[in-house]
Amino acid sequence: MVAKFDLNDDSVVVIIGTGAGGGTLANELAQKGVKVVALEAGGRYLPQDYINDEWESFTQLAWLDARTTSGDWRVAKDFSGLPAWIVKAVGGTTTHWAGASLRFQDHEWKARTTYGEVAGASLLDWPIDATEMAPWYEKAEEKLGVTRTGGRPGLPGNNNYKVFEKGALALGYQNVHTGNMAIVSDDSQARTMCQQTGFCFQGCKWGAKWSTAYTEIEEGEATENLEVRERSHVARILHDAAGKVTGVEYFDTSGALQMQKARIVCVAGNSFESPRLLLNSASSMFPQGLANSSGQVGRNYMRHTTGSVYAVFDRPVRMWRGTTMAGIVQDEARHDPSRGFVGGYELETLALGLPFMAAFLNPGAWGRSCTPALDA
């Protein structure tokens, strides 16, 4: 029986969001006997519900609020107002993520110390390091079933990977493989092994890729200590005269405003919605929003910075067959300022279907300068 807690039960822990952070925390607490109410803004979709069609899936899973951006970078021009590809559903963006599970390197833990002052940046060192985090990484890799860790084999290379590997080796790269992926690569694990179906980003219909939607959440619910309320969008975190949180206000499935009491509130709403919620929770005691004495909530937004390169081959690759993020080159991941920049980068290969290729290959371009790449 699934747990059901009262709105006035102030002994529960409320977790906002059910993705990588919230979903995992919800299960870990539930396993320890802690009563948890997880509030999820989106609906519940499971592998049988996922749609292997790029645009249809985007409509099903993505958080469809229009997002704004500014500046002179290309995305601001080409995709002004496009929703971000984060997921509004039970499981959050673990439904959509590629599964790539890389550890921080030493220079990334200590960016300020290693890189020095970088003009225009606001670098800080993490107060933790690789040694302290190693056992936690191991625990996470075990939980997620990350390939090439804990004795788990790598995924087999698909067509896209083979092309990528051949090119990488020809350039002299050595650290090229099919990645450290939270995708089951053999029959020894509880989840189904990867069936090389593609559409990893649209939700894995085999459940081979780790997503909290069908791992952590289900395990947590089985303890009867976890109640997940889907389509429950938290609007505000409440606090008492002493400044301690007392609960949250949220819009339920019908759009009605509800109040759930809580002894602890965990905010796990990804990089836009968490700061948005903290800022929206401003009160007379905290006019800048919650947890914002620094004034930095909602600033310094930084995601993975990616640059995309596309290649056209004169013979078919059929890149969409199999694991979407098919391989990685790690030779450039080192910190080596002699290259003209601090930090390093991973070079990963991934596949797009025709609909997304048409949209993202060269946004805004038209005519025969761009269409042959789609014919290939």
Binding site: N158, N159, Q195, G364, G367
Partner: protein, 173 residues
């Protein structure tokens, strides 16, 4: 309804890269159609001439010679709607004006793709052009029926994925 589809193409039309595109004809009352009547598109709000212009724009914006007109027609048929009437009327008039500025009778009357593209380039920042172009990104490429023409296979879950169906079968490396 009468169909006066042009029988047979001129040598010039065949030679031009417009061959695939130029095959459509405005056939009078409310229709544009392929000469072999393989497809026809009925319009009720905008004029056949306007629809033919948008269809030709679609072919020139995202030209794929292996993709038949009927797929482009599906992609643009939504312009035959009351709430698009003004946009289309003003937009097509602007395209034709640009064509006349370059010495042509109209955009549709231009036999060579290269010349039509020059006309479109002169108006590519307009709302009308950008609406047509961005609409095609999904209107054309998100049609499941066109995917095989590009070799794209779509979903594979219903067939058990590619684990036993060629996920690693590349043989030319």
């Amino acid at each position: 309804m009468t169909k006066h589809a042009t029988r047979g193409l001129t040598r010039r039309a065949l030679l031009s890269r417009a061959a695939a595109a130029g095959a459509m004809a405005v056939t009078g009352a409310g229709f544009i159609a392929a000469p072999d009547a393989a497809w026809a598109l009925e319009v009720t709000v905008i004029t056949p001439q306007e629809m033919a212009t948008i269809l030709q724009m679609a072919r020139d914006i995202y030209p794929h010679d292996q993709v038949a007109d009927r797929f482009y027609a599906v992609a643009v048929k939504g312009y035959d709607a009351e709430d698009r009437r003004a946009l289309v009327a003003e937009g097509v008039a602007a395209v034709d004006r640009a064509a006349r500025d370059m010495g042509h009778d109209s955009y549709l009357a231009i036999g060579w793709e290269e010349d039509r593209v020059k006309v479109l380039q002169s108006i590519e920042d307009s709302t009308f052009f950008q609406t047509v172009r961005s609409g095609l990104v999904t209107g054309l490429y998100n049609q499941k029926a066109v995917w095989p023409l590009f070799g794209y296979e779509g979903e594979s879950f219903s067939q058990g994925g590619y684990i036993e169906r060629g996920f690693d079968d590349i043989d030319w490396l």
